[in-house]
Amino acid sequence: MYLITEDVITSDAIIDQLRINTSGAIATFLGIAREFSNGRRVVHLEYQAYKPMAEKKLKEIGDEIYKKWQVDKVVIIHRVGVLKIGETSVFIAIAAPHRRPALEACAYGIERIKQIVPIWKKEIWEDGEVWIEGDPSKVS
């Protein structure tokens, strides 16, 4: 499942879908809206996506993972819109027969999201706001 959503992301319902009889491990990664960024206090975050391309790129990342590791299922969900501090911005869940592929694929997934998925984060402070730009050397 590859999804861009405006809804709050929760874990249990998704994890329950990954409980399949060949899987011995599920690794998840959650990006969380953090209050402090380079010393500035963030009031809230806003994420914008180029939705059709973003979902396509999430699926590409999943396909890369299926090629690189022996995994059973990949779920990647990215939230857009206004996020309060502490809310989940991105959720990756990977079920695999064994623990190492699940964990490695999870780490790979979040790196790739930050490289190729057309989503942007805006930090809103008490006294201003800025669109964050990623590292341009990472796109492929």
């Binding site: 990006g31 996506a49 391309m53 999201i113 190729i116 989503i119 805006k122 669109w131």
Partner: protein, 82 residues
């Protein structure tokens, strides 16, 4: 021919628009379209450069790619999701 151009994040703010339709000449490339955008949006113009990412029909392309009638092009700064 006509194409649609989408702008995201800071580019959207600088242009004051999230999407525009452009008439382009047959045989135009992404670079041609970028030049049209620079003329239309001087504030955006200063920010377009080697970091700018370009997609054509939801796939990354380079400035040399040709554009076709009905294409959806998108320009945006380096992504910052996650």
């Amino acid at each position: 021919m006509k194409i649609k151009v989408k702008l995201f994040a800071s580019y959207q703010d600088l242009a004051g628009k999230s999407e525009i339709e452009l008439k382009v000449d047959p045989g135009a490339s992404v670079a041609t379209v970028l030049n049209q955008l620079k003329e239309l949006f001087p504030r955006l113009s200063e920010r377009l450069g080697s970091n700018t990412l370009i997609a054509l029909n939801a796939e990354y392309v380079s400035v040399t790619s040709p554009v076709q009638d009905g294409d959806e092009m998108a320009i945006f700064p380096p992504v910052s999701g996650g």
